[in-house]
């Protein structure tokens, strides 16, 4: 298993541009999450999904959108990028809530200039 994979690893955007961060897991996990980590801080939840077709907001959803059309993929969309969205973005998945830890992807480092 490759686990949780994310693309791209790095990206620089100009203010106002849009992009999609890709996240794929091959463990057949129902639960998937997007977090952001600002420098020197812990992670904050942006959006999560409990299964294909079901998504919901986390702590910091403004400026982002998600979709979950398959179990494997959970893309995060940034519309009209702003400097405040400069961060490292992590995708994670969970097999069964309440019994196991979350598994994290390697992260995408995004800079908005």
């Amino acid at each position: 298993n490759a686990g949780v994979t994310q693309t791209p690893k790095f990206r620089i955007l100009k203010i106002g541009q849009s992009m999609t961060l890709q996240c794929t897991q091959d463990m057949n996990h129902n639960y998937m999450y997007w977090y952001r980590q600002d420098p020197g801080m812990g992670l904050k939840l942006i959006y999560y999904s409990v299964g294909a077709g079901i998504t919901d907001k986390g702590e910091v959803p403004n400026g982002y959108n998600v979709s979950r059309s398959t179990t494997e993929d959970f893309p995060l969309r940034l519309e009209l990028a702003a400097p405040s969205q400069t961060s490292v973005y992590f995708c994670a998945s969970n097999p069964i809530v309440g019994t196991d830890t979350q598994y994290f992807g390697p992260g995408t480092r995004l800079t908005v200039l």
Binding site: Y31, Y35, G42, V97, D100, T101, Q102, F104, P106, G107
Partner: protein, 111 residues
């Protein structure tokens, strides 16, 4: 919302020393996990430990849910233990796995 506080914020150890990291949380939780973020930024899960004690090699963790804290013990530290250690909780009633992270403890192990 629930508050998660980790202490100490920074820790410097000589290789071979032992350490204890603490995580306090302000409300009852359904789920508590410890993670290590290595110097390259990768997050590695260490323990899923909503209550009780677990051990994995030189690392062990204890959560006392009724008193709202968890401890991570690192024995005979090695330079590869350097990085940031995060505690994360899912508040009750939890059924989605949404985690609230603490600010982390930055550990530096010197050779």
């Amino acid at each position: 919302g629930i508050q998660v506080e980790q202490s100490p914020p920074d820790l410097i150890l000589q290789e071979g020393a032992n350490s204890t990291l603490r995580c306090n949380f302000s409300d009852s939780v359904n789920n508590l996990q410890w993670f290590h973020q290595n110097p390259w930024g990768q997050l590695i899960n260490l323990f899923y430990i909503p209550s009780g004690t677990k051990q994995n090699g030189r690392l062990s963790a204890t959560t006392v849910a009724t008193e709202r804290y968890s401890l991570l013990y690192i024995s005979s530290s090695q330079t590869t233990d350097s990085g940031v250690y995060f505690c994360a909780v899912e508040p009750n009633p939890g059924n989605t796995g949404k985690l609230i992270f603490g600010q982390g403890t930055t550990l530096q192990v010197k050779p």
